[in-house]
């Protein structure tokens, strides 16, 4: 560990010098890696003068698992299981750009039914992710109740995802060419074609109703709360040009006023069949980031409602060879993940695994803006800003 780690935190009373102007030395405050409010093992080394941060450096890498190296010794279907652990809050959505990239390299056409199911599950993952965020920011600011209400509704969405895929956070439901088509085949059990569970459409619609209700509650309980507004309005403003230069994406970028949504510009899933709005904020402060995500939950529930009413019949997976070998080529596919832009650059040399897999994660770029953003802010604002950026350390560290 570096010498900075060995700095002790105690301040002996003889270190304080009392002169005519009462100079107090700057204090080095070390937040983390274990801390109640950083979202994971993130360490912030801050030089603090009273309550003002003079300089801040985030230290990441405590959760580095070496995904890109691991991917070089895996086959494509095996990478699917690895990849949904990158951003563990929105598990399903991590697999999508990888699947689409592989399918495009192999020139496989995914059946419509599978595409719709992927889209529905991705939007549910988005709702689940945003509900966690919507409850954790007020918690860090001191209001403990929205957490319980939001998580209660999130359980409904997770139950739906579990009903379809069998897993709440890491479904492993995608396959190259579609989604998982069958279950249980072997010596003792007969193979069953596994489709959506019975009653899925009605349950989904009622769950979306509950989700919209809790969003309306949040608008009153949180957005309209005078104290919340005072703590978040004007705090942590990221101007649009800085956001673009640092690679900030997703709701953070939209809150700064840039109406950029990959669901509208890229066609990795059939979003063009559905009607939804791109939600933007105006100032790029913490309040806007919260309001944008709150409205995005409502929009996502709209998409799910529309999609679930018109799922076409058909196959769940295209016909793919038994051994997946991807022809030579390079491709970059990006998707609008709940936290931002997630992309996979696959370099294939014709083998059964990629020659190089570059994973572009949203939180890595979202977090890189922190040392610029936090100069001159107050320590309590640091908590509000960290909470409003919505990052997860698995996404940052890969």
């Amino acid at each position: 560990m570096t010498t900075a780690d060995r700095q002790t935190l105690s301040m002996h009373h003889s270190e304080v010098q009392v002169s005519v102007e009462l100079q107090t030395p700057d204090m080095t405050l070390n937040l983390g890696p274990q801390h109640p409010s950083t979202h994971g093992v993130l360490r912030l080394v801050a030089r603090v003068d009273g309550e003002v941060i003079k300089e801040l450096e985030p230290v990441v890498g405590y959760m580095h698992r070496g995904y890109e190296k691991l991917a070089e010794v895996r086959t494509y279907p095996q990478i699917t299981a690895l990849v949904n652990r990158i951003d563990w809050v929105s598990g399903f959505a991590n697999e999508i750009p990888f699947m689409v990239a592989t399918e495009r390299l192999m020139d496989i056409e995914v059946p419509e039914r599978a595409q719709y199911i992927r889209l529905i599950l991705t939007e549910m993952a988005r709702i689940s992710n945003h509900l966690v965020f919507l409850s954790s920011l007020p918690l860090e600011l001191g209001a403990a109740t929205p957490l319980m209400h939001a998580l209660r509704e999130r359980e409904r969405v997770l139950d739906l995802i579990e009903g379809v895929t069998g897993g709440r956070f890491h479904p492993n439901f995608n396959r190259i060419g579609g989604v998982k088509p069958a279950a249980a085949a072997g010596a003792t059990q007969k193979k069953v074609v596994q489709d959506l569970p019975q009653g899925f459409v009605e349950q989904t619609k009622s769950a979306m109703e509950y989700v919209r209700e809790v969003c309306a509650d949040m608008v009153n309980l949180v957005l309209g709360n005078e104290i919340f507004m005072q703590r978040t309005k004007g705090v942590g403003v990221i101007p649009a040009d800085k956001a673009l230069a640092f690679g900030v994406s997703g709701p953070n970028l939209r809150a700064s006023g840039v109406p950029f949504d990959l669901r509208k510009t890229d066609d990795y899933l059939p979003y063009s069949n559905f009607d939804f709005d791109v939600v933007t904020g105006s100032n790029g402060d913490c309040f806007d980031r919260y309001a944008v995500r709150l409205e995005e939950v409502v929009q996502a529930s709209r998409i799910v409602d529309q999609a679930v009413s018109e799922i076409p019949a058909g196959d769940l997976q295209a016909k793919v060879p038994r051994i997946i070998k991807v022809p030579k080529g390079e491709i970059y596919v990006r998707a609008e993940n709940p936290k931002g832009e997630m992309g996979y650059y696959i370099v294939s040399e014709g083998g059964r695994g990629p020659y190089r897999l570059k994973i572009r994660t949203a939180s890595f770029s979202n977090l890189s803006v922190l040392s610029w953003l936090l100069k001159g802010q107050l320590v309590p604002d640091l908590i509000a800003i960290l909470g409003s950026l919505d990052f997860v350390l698995g996404d940052v560290d890969r």
């Binding site: 935190l9 403990a144 957490l147 209660r152 309980l221 320590v379």
Partner: protein, 338 residues
């Protein structure tokens, strides 16, 4: 028995023991109330298993758990100050109970300077908080202690000024005297004499200011920056564990009771309820009013986020103090004119 009651010193000792017992019990009851009320507000159940179906023994169980924990003092800490700080906080809160009137006779000592004494004793806790923050040899605790001291000093003023209005209106600083002044009839409706508590007799603004300042004095959300759990771990309480932590904890909840008791006495009429005999029903009436205010305090904690330190300070200095001064001026005018 009468020998004990006649001798001044033994009577005093009995009263002190009684009040300490009351304080401990009341703290536990309020802790339990907070656990249950917050749970139901968040669509949870709260304590369920301890002591049978309603989980009423949960605070007792927690207390016993804390008592048997290891006594940890950080290596770099200032030992005497560290050990003494919780006692200072507890002593300050306990001292306030001396003048709370449960009925015209059931009061430890009905001081003529009751209100003045209550406010003065209540602010001893500030020193204890500073002691705790400083002696813990921990940057988080230091920041928490300094924040707490700044907050407590800032909100002393609105607290005192809000009370001045009541004192002007009652004409006395004695707690029993203030309750009697509220019991005095204001107007007559036919045969019956109607008396109103001061909250309706023009001290509504004063009541609001007092409750806000009391929340800040108790370090409760929305003013709990000093122990902002998600920011500074536990602020000035970070290094405390076991019995010392229990003392702080009990002191906080006893403080809630004390502040609510003072507020009910000054603004809501204390042990007096029209139509009920004060001597017999006094304690019940007072407990009822205190219960209402405690519920309000718990409700506010679980609904509102916390104010930032500078917002907190500007709220006190720019809003509460001018409002309190205006309140005094208006009260004084009314008192003289009418």
């Amino acid at each position: 028995m009468s020998a004990i009651l006649d001798n001044f010193w033994s009577l005093l000792a009995l009263k002190i023991l009684l009040i300490t017992g009351v304080m401990m019990t009341v703290s536990l009851v309020i802790i339990f109330a907070e656990l249950k009320i917050s749970a139901h507000m968040q669509s949870r159940v709260g304590p369920y298993f301890a002591g049978g179906r309603y989980g009423w023994a949960q605070p007792l169980a927690d207390g016993l758990k804390f008592i048997q924990k290891e006594d940890l003092v950080p290596a770099d800490a200032d030992r005497p100050v560290f050990k003494f700080a919780p006692m200072v906080v507890l002593a300050g809160t306990l001292a306030v109970f001396v003048i709370v009137p449960f009925s015209p006779d059931l009061v430890v000592r009905n001081l003529d300077l009751g209100v003045f004494y209550a406010l003065a004793a209540g602010s001893i806790g500030t020193v204890g908080v500073l002691m705790a923050g400083w002696s813990s040899a921990n940057k988080y605790s230091l920041m928490g202690g300094l924040r707490a001291a700044a907050q407590l000093i800032a909100y002393e003023l609105p607290l005192v000024l809000a009370v001045v209005g009541v004192v002007i209106q009652a004409g006395t600083m004695s707690m029993v005297g203030i309750v009697e002044a509220q019991a005095a009839p204001v107007f007559h409706l036919g045969d019956t004499a109607i008396s109103l508590p001061y909250i309706f007799q023009g001290q509504f603004i004063g009541f609001i200011i007092f409750m806000i300042a009391a929340l800040a004095e108790l370090n409760r959300t929305p003013f709990d920056m000093p122990i902002a759990e998600s920011e500074l771990v536990m602020g000035y309480l970070t290094e405390y564990s076991g019995i010392r932590f229990t003392m702080f904890f009990l002191g906080e909840y006893a403080g809630i009771f004390a502040m609510s008791a003072i507020a009910s006495t000054l603004f809501l009429g204390g042990y007096y309820f029209p139509g009920l005999d004060s001597a017999t029903f006094g304690p019940l009436v007072l407990m009822g009013k205190v219960g209402l205010l405690v519920f309000l305090i718990i409700w506010l904690r679980w609904t509102l986020p916390r104010l930032r330190e500078d917002q907190l300070q500007s709220f006190a200095w720019k809003w509460l103090i001018p409002l309190a001064l205006v309140n005094i001026a208006v009260t004084a005018t009314f008192k003289v004119v009418f």
